[in-house]
């Protein structure tokens, strides 16, 4: 199944990316070829096979619930593109 330009635009939107008109054909073609290649996985019989999301068996990494030093407010904001009163500033979200 071939990925279409509209699907690329849709997925890019989900990822909050903008694909400019000029590169859309090329991006669609490149991603289409990669996905086509990935389709070779359909040759593998995976009936009743559990998926693996993590190669090393580890379950429940617990820790004690104790108070420790963490980044200070100033440190956490030290890379903020815009900040005010100890908080990150973003464009207005709620209308009046």
């Amino acid at each position: 199944m071939k990925i279409t330009k509209n699907e690329i635009i849709h997925v890019a939107n989900l990822a909050r990316l903008e694909i400019d008109e000029a590169s859309l054909d090329k991006v669609t073609e490149q991603i289409g070829r990669i996905l086509e290649y990935v389709d070779t996985l359909n040759q593998v019989d995976t009936k009743n096979i559990q998926g693996t999301s993590h190669a090393i068996t580890l379950t429940n990494a617990f820790r004690e619930d104790i108070i420790k030093d963490h980044l200070t407010n100033n440190q956490a904001l030290s890379n903020a593109p815009e900040k005010e009163n100890g908080a990150f500033v973003v464009p207005k979200i709620v209308g009046r």
Binding site: R16, G51, L58, A61
Partner: protein, 492 residues
């Protein structure tokens, strides 16, 4: 010291420099100065570094000299290292070679950096890479390309291309890189240095900028196997800050530096040797290496990793899926680049990401987002994770018949700059021999094993079972001591 010797301090290995520091024949200040001067002299040609912390490095060198004066020397004390630019260095830039993190100054150290600092190591600077570690040539760096010291018209490999080039060209004594699908082993192979990807969970990922969290692992790139063991000793171990690091004792890897391979069983995965496009020079060099191992007393068995041909497909679903999730955080809100004067929040996200990420990163985010989106999840991520299970089974079965697996690292030596940039799929296919170790979580090492007819380095890969880096170090050490490839240097 005699003048001639002094002039080549930058060419020392970690253990050689350590011996000279310990016997007070040199100081860390002299050593660090020599390496910084060498960087200044030749890095215009190579482009390994993104930033050099000269002042900071000299301060650390002086502190190391004080430690040595107090007889507090450890194996890495006073040793100047380069660090791949995706490992967080407190107060010093960490860009991931991406415009989106161009101005990022981490407020904390990665765990490996804290460990290096405690050991008294010196940080020279941060080295180039493919943006967010996505690539096999360092051509995807958002800053500049890096050239292979053995042939400056060729790529150094990637994504840890800056690490490998800086080690090969003696612009550091050793380096740390990271490996998600071969990003330590492949550039090590192309630059004739030693590179190890430890078992997943052996080294803390805390402070390693995440690409694909179930595959990423930090590891050393060094001038020889002894240095690899020394760096592994310092960076390994459980870290409460990384819940995927494994609470397991760390052996002293120096104990693996002992001679003798009698009784060792080496597995040759037959699928690797039948791979289309395997360069005849690579094939012949690996055969020679196998013969050397045989002379050292190793036995060979043929093994099968039947799902090898699906590794590229599995990887290029799983890695982009994890990346699309990990990279969602670069939204211009808390750190990194934010595009100017957005008209609303949505526009801010879009223009920040579109201008901040390079083409390969955007491509992988789109693939990952698509593969995880409603209706496609089972067909892509679900399917790939099932085939991943089968690949892990393949390794388990193989390690019942042998102690280590021996194979090429890459199908061919370093390619020309620009040769594959327009064909991402072709670039991906060159990762065929390295991806499986990440998917299965097993450790792998690349060591110099020869040169092609036109004098390009060729590496040999050894893979072991989970947490058996000791075996890899032992076999690699024996091979290294029986050959001299690691002593050969590029002429610059």
């Amino acid at each position: 010291m005699k003048r001639e010797t002094k002039m080549k301090l930058y060419a020392l290995t970690i253990h050689e420099a350590h011996d000279l520091l310990k016997s007070r024949q040199i100081s860390s200040t002299e050593l660090t100065r020599a390496v910084l001067d060498h960087i200044e002299k030749i890095d215009d040609k190579i482009g390994a570094y993104l930033s050099v912390f000269e002042e900071n490095a000299m301060i650390q060198a002086r502190e190391a000299d004080h430690m040595i004066a107090r007889n507090e020397i450890q194996p890495l004390t006073g040793i100047p290292l380069s660090i791949k630019d995706l490992i967080c260095t407190k107060g010093l830039p960490t860009t991931c070679a991406s415009k989106i993190l161009e101005n990022f100054i981490p407020p904390y150290d990665a765990t490996v950096m804290s460990k290096l600092k405690n050991a008294g190591a010196v940080t020279l600077g941060k080295v180039n890479m493919d943006e967010f570690a996505m690539g096999s040539s360092t051509e995807n760096s958002g800053m500049h390309i890096t050239r292979n010291p053995w042939d400056i018209t060729r790529i150094p490999g990637g994504s840890s291309g800056g690490s490998a080039a800086s080690v090969a060209a003696d612009m550091c004594i050793g380096s740390l890189g990271s490996d998600t699908g071969g990003s330590i082993r492949q550039p090590a192979s192309h630059c004739s240095v030693v590179g190890m990807k430890p078992t997943y969970g052996r080294v803390s990922r805390y402070g390693l900028v995440a690409f694909a969290s179930s595959l990423d692992q930090i590891g050393p790139l060094t001038k020889d196997v002894t240095d690899c063991a020394l760096l592994m000793n310092v960076i390994s171990g459980y870290d409460p800050h990384d819940s995927t690091s494994v609470p397991k004792d760390v052996p002293d890897f120096r104990r693996s530096l002992e001679k003798g391979l009698k009784g060792l069983k080496i597995g040759l995965p037959k699928e690797y040797y039948m791979t289309e496009g395997l360069d005849p020079d690579v094939s012949a060099t690996i055969d020679n290496a196998a013969n050397t191992m045989k002379d050292l007393g190793a036995e060979f068995v043929e093994v099968s990793l039947p799902h090898t041909k699906y590794a590229v497909a599995v990887y290029y679903v799983i890695a982009p899926c994890e990346a699309s999730s990990n990279l969602a955080r670069y939204d211009g809100v808390r750190y990194g680049f934010r595009d100017k004067d957005p008209k609303d929040l949505m526009q801010m996200y879009r223009s920040t990401k579109s201008k901040g990420f390079g083409p390969e990163v955007q491509r992988r985010i789109i693939i990952g987002t698509y593969a995880l989106s409603a209706g496609y999840y089972d067909a892509y991520y679900g399917k790939a994770s099932q085939v991943r299970t089968l690949m892990i089974e393949d390794f388990k079965n193989a390690f019942q018949k042998c102690d280590v697996l021996l194979s090429p690292v890459t199908p061919s030596p370093a390619f020309k700059i620009g040769e594959k940039t327009d064909d991402p799929l072709n670039m991906y296919l060159s990762d065929i021999f390295t991806l499986s170790a990440n998917l299965a979580g097993v450790p792998g090492i690349s060591i110099p094993c020869g040169f092609s007819k036109n004098n390009l380095p060729i590496g040999l890969q050894l893979m072991g079972s989970h947490f058996n880096e000791e075996m890899l170090i032992k076999v690699a050490y024996n091979f290294e001591q029986a050959t001299m490839f690691h002593k050969k240097k590029p002429s610059l």
